[in-house]
């Protein structure tokens, strides 16, 4: 540890020397790593936005519960309290006869004139129940068996399809992340091998002078990590621009999409890409260093 602390400056200057020793190749490696990490960032953005949309939809996963006695307000109030106590039920809201009609008018928009054909309000009071989507099946069974409930209408199919799409996207994302990770590891380990090859005489001399493997290898790990983090920083720069322009376009054209807060998303993506790039840099460098062991001292 003492030796490490005494040599921090040396390690940094050696790492910079390794980076400068093959400037063109390392430049392209950094750009390549940056582009790969940009792809990773895009996947992470997709995940974050997708998660937010699914979460918003889940929160809006409402079930309509129709009652055997929709005219009996006391019974409706009792039932409201009863349903609120069920596990998996997040909120129960009573919708009166008039409110039900207003909702339908809103939904129909210009076509709502059709409701004028009725002499009386054709709608009944009902209960809107917001539930936890993960417990949908269970909650539906419970609701159907509650005394006073005539019929339960759900939007399960739509919600489940949306969940399937979100899960599918996550699976694709996992494969992309694996591919991105592997590619970055290969690029960085190759870069480090190249650095080791360029400095083989120096490495051999240090070995003959008794330098430990960690002392010899650390500048290379530092160089690999620095280059990957620089690549990560480039990726973050592009991602911030993309997120910014994406939000500007979407918020104008599709205002109803429940996007996460832009600043939160940018901070989250930046920290994730930076962490992943540092991790991949260290791992790639260590893989590259493994080749040193095969050299004869």
């Amino acid at each position: 540890m003492k030796t490490f602390l005494y040599n921090i400056g040396y390690f940094l200057s050696e790492a910079m020397r390794t980076i400068r020793s093959n400037p063109l190749s390392n430049f392209f490696s950094v750009i390549g790593t940056g582009l790969i990490l940009f792809l990773l960032g895009i996947v992470l953005v997709g995940w974050s936005v997708g998660d937010q949309i699914v979460m918003a939809l889940e929160q809006e996963a409402e079930i309509s519960v129709y009652l055997t006695n929709p005219e009996d307000q006391v019974k409706i109030d009792e039932l409201t309290l009863q349903l609120q106590k069920l596990e998996g039920v997040l909120e129960v809201r009573s919708v009166g006869k008039e409110q039900a009609k207003e909702q339908m008018e809103k939904l129909l928009g210009n076509e709502s004139e059709i409701l004028g054909l009725f002499d009386e309000n054709p709608f009944e009071a009902f209960l809107e129940v917001r539930i936890n989507l993960g417990q949908m099946e269970e909650v539906l069974n419970k609701l159907q068996n509650v005394n006073g409930v005539e019929y339960v209408r759900d939007n399960r199919e739509v919600l489940e399809q949306m969940k399937q799409i979100a899960d599918g996207l996550k699976l694709i994302g996992v494969f992309i992340i694996l591919a991105v990770g592997m590619t970055t590891l290969i690029i960085i380990s190759h870069m480090i091998r190249q650095g080791i090859y360029n400095n083989r005489e120096q490495i051999n001399t240090l070995r003959l002078l008794g330098a430990p493997g960690t002392f010899i290898g650390f500048p290379f790990v530092l160089a690999g990590t620095l280059m990957t983090v620089i690549g990560g920083a480039i990726a973050i720069g592009f991602l911030l621009v993309i997120i910014n322009s994406g939000y500007q376009q979407l918020s104008g054209a599709l205002p109803f999409i429940p996007l996460p807060v832009q600043e939160w998303l940018q901070a989250r993506i930046s920290s994730m890409v930076l962490t992943v790039s540092a991790f991949l840099g260290v791992m790639g460098s260590l893989f590259g260093l493994a080749s040193m062991r095969n050299d004869k001292s």
Binding site: T3, T205, R207, L208, L209, F215
Partner: protein, 224 residues
């Protein structure tokens, strides 16, 4: 300090570089290993620093068995040895001072002390005016002195110098030998290989080991 018993070295291509070497070197001893080119002098030094391993026999350096299975300890042992390689093995792109310090960085010496010791070593070899010169800009003789400074700045207990007089004129060769032998003290042994036996004629207080075709033919001590 060094003890070789029936040591042989056979290279992978079958070349028998050393045969049945028996040798004992004590702390504070000055040893000249002489012999013609290809006689096995460098091979013997390679064994002593662990660049090669014995094919037969037993070799102990500073109480460590120089065996392939003992690589970890041999790497540590090298910290106590000051090697001066035939081709110097200086690192280009670094100054003389940086090269000397390079050999000290992993010894746990505080940066200030390390720089001071390295500068003193370079002064001792007469290169105080070239401390900040890149080693590729030094002459052959100067580069050799940097290599010596790097070896001695580590305060080793064993200095190994492989053909330090090669490529030098008579006067510079004598100077280099005198410089190297000046580092011998009570605790530090100095081993120098050379094929130029005329340079060491009349040297006293030293042991002379003559190697020929991989075998030690003569061991002679001269007391001054």
């Amino acid at each position: 300090m060094i003890e070789a018993k029936e040591v042989s070295l056979i290279y992978p291509d079958g070349t028998k570089a050393l045969k049945n070497i028996n040798l004992k070197i004590n702390p504070g001893e000055l040893v000249y290993i002489t012999g013609p080119s290809g006689s096995g002098k460098t091979s013997l030094l390679k064994l002593l620093i662990g660049m090669e391993y014995t094919s037969e026999g037993e070799l102990k350096v500073l109480n460590e068995t120089m065996d392939k299975n003992n690589e970890r300890k041999i790497r540590k042992l090298r910290k106590r040895i000051g090697p001066v390689f035939q081709e110097f093995k200086l690192i280009d792109g670094r100054t003389a001072l940086e090269n000397v310090m390079m050999g000290m960085r992993f010894l746990g010496i505080a940066p200030g002390k390390m720089k001071e010791d390295a500068e003193n070593a370079l002064k001792r070899v007469g290169l105080e005016h070239k401390i900040h010169t890149l080693v590729e800009h030094l002459s052959w003789g100067e580069a050799q002195r940097v290599a010596i400074a790097r070896a001695v700045a580590r305060k080793p207990v064993l200095i190994l110098a492989d053909e330090p007089t090669g490529n030098l004129d008579h006067e510079n060769a004598i100077n280099i030998l005198e410089l190297l032998t000046s580092f011998k003290d009570q605790d530090t042994a100095v081993i120098i290989t050379t094929h130029a036996t005329h340079l060491i004629d009349g040297v006293k207080d030293a042991t002379f080991v003559r190697v020929n075709s991989g075998e030690i033919t003569v061991i002679r001590s001269e007391v001054g």
